[in-house]
Amino acid sequence: MDITRFTSKKFLIPAIISLVILIAMVTLPVYGSLYMVILITAILMFVILTVSWTLFSGPTGYMSLASAAFFGIGVYASAILLPTTGGKLPLLVVVVIGGLVSSILAFGVGALTLRLRGIYFAVFTFGLVELIKQVLLWWENSVTGTRGRYVMLVENDVIFYTMLAIFMLLMLTFFFLRRSKYGLAMQSIGENEEAAAHRGINVTMVKVITFAISAFFMGATGAIIATRWTYIDPYIAFYILYSFLPVMMAIFGGIGQIYGPVIGAAIFAYLEEVLLTKFPYYYMLIFGVVLVAAILYMPNGIVGLVPRLVRRLRKGGSAKQHAST
């Protein structure tokens, strides 16, 4: 890695923009309304899910549909470890635990399925969220006798900053991972897995570890957002939508570059907010229609719509090579 990479224009412009946005975010609770803080927290959540998904599925090409499962584990971890009454652990500890438990699950799932063809990975991860939900429902019914849990109240600003911290940690991880030799290894796996294996890359291990890392952030995000939702039951925590939204947002925003998923997620999250407020009864249906319309008419995502803007922000790689998946 040579220094000139950091001072070239391609790097400086996005870096400066990022810095400006970062400062705006960190100071948000000072100048922004409560509504804004909550909205941005929600948007950050989607951005984290999308970028984490992209961290693994982007370069390797393995479509993970387990995001909802990892996210839900984090949410549920908070529900168990941060009750409204009784012994509680410090918030940050719970957030980390939520992340770690998700990572461990991801490691197991990855070790089992990432040795096989992509379709097995996709279908296995697809059912995970429903599986965990049903097991937890059974557990709540038969073992603990509870029906849903209440999570302790946390101040909105604290929630916001925790989310922001997770986001920043994720972006740093994403950035350095992509630039490191493991990032190169992952890209080569996505390009030609057999060749990568023959050049000395322990392909399965690289995939599994990256998958586990991506799951950590999903779990951590779930853990903190649970304090916003306050009432958690398996239906609320484990919702299949959270498996597909990150995929859609990433594809919509463009996977090849680091800012793509961020933009895609921000747009979709804001759209969801708008629809939720304007059409509270029908918003899910409208959202679904928007999703389908987006896939049908913009299969190449935003990259097709706003090419020049995206090109300025892009770090490298043409639209063609990273179109859609």
Binding site: G127, Q134, V247, M284, V292
Partner: protein, 292 residues
């Protein structure tokens, strides 16, 4: 008749019944994934539609659920066929390669799942609905079995076998199998691929719709019931071997029997049991029973 044997027969019939339903579901999904190459995440929603459709037809219009089979079947076919002709054909022609099509079509089916579920929620509400049909007992060799179970079992197997014969013997069936093997050559030999893939997708939807109609006689319905069945159908087609219709048939029965036993021992852990088998399968022979 001794209680043990009654329990055994009970489980056996229950297992075959559930197995028959699973087999229909899986064969439908197998057709959609294996031939039309769409990983249809909304498959379960067609079950739900078939079930709720039958519910409404029976409770509102008094139409016999078995007669509903003849209504639900063509309706779901038309819906599936049209969906494919409009949405998926467009996606297929726009996609630069097969992988992009696979991903986009899957995402589209997810959007579909979302839309169908929410329409159902608006139409029927979130509460569980159910109706009674053929709920009386039938005396077989001294043991009592609910009539509708026997009827469902019979119809499930009949539909499954009919479907299989259709695939094996009819002209369309042959065209389908040819396209599954080699779409390009099939196209060159005069098969209208666009039409055929839409037909396959429609047929897949029919299997789900009919399964839904049959199931609606026995279980309570809710708009969110579909996802569970989609996942089960997926596990069955992996168990049977991706792309193998006979595999889906047999795999369905295997899972159905296991599911019935597990439900008998510990209700609501059946999906966990299926996933356990799924895990074993991926560890030992991912390609499934009839997979290559």
């Amino acid at each position: 008749m001794p209680q043990g044997i009654i329990t055994f027969l009970d489980l056996a019939i229950g297992g075959l019944l559930l197995g028959g339903i699973y087999a229909l579901l899986a064969m439908g999904l197998s057709l959609q994934y294996g031939v039309a190459r769409v990983f249809n995440v909304s498959h379960g929603e067609f079950i739900m539609l078939g079930a709720f459709g039958t519910f409404t037809l029976y409770t509102v219009f008094g139409i016999n659920p078995l007669v509903c089979l003849a209504i639900v079947g063509p309706l779901t076919f038309i819906i599936g066929f049209l969906l494919h002709k409009t949405m998926f054909t467009r996606l297929r022609l726009l996609a630069p390669n097969a992988d992009v099509y696979a991903a986009n079509s899957m995402l589209a089916t997810f959007g579909l799942m979302f839309i169908i579920q929410n329409i159902a929620l608006l139409a029927w509400g979130a509460n569980y609905r159910a109706y009674n049909y053929l709920n009386f007992g039938v005396d077989l060799w001294g043991a009592i079995f609910t009539a509708n179970r026997l009827v469902i079992l019979g119809f499930a197997i009949a539909i499954g076998v009919a479907f299989y014969i259709f695939l094996a013997r009819s002209r369309i069936g042959k065209a389908i199998r040819a396209s599954a093997q080699d779409p390009t050559t099939a196209g060159l030999m005069g098969v209208n691929i666009n039409l055929l893939l839409a037909i396959c997708f429609g047929l897949g939807a029919v299997m789900a719709g009919l399964a839904g109609t049959l199931m609606s006689m026995r279980i309570p319905l809710t708009p969110t019931m579909g996802l569970n069945y989609t996942i089960i159908a997926i596990i069955v087609i992996v168990l049977g071997g991706l792309g193998s219709i006979p595999g889906s048939f047999i795999g369905g029965f295997i899972l159905g029997i296991i599911g019935t036993i597990v439900t008998y021992l510990e209700p609501s852990l059946s999906l966990a049991a299926y996933y356990f088998i799924f895990m074993l399968l991926l560890l030992i022979k991912p390609t499934g029973i009839f997979g290559k």
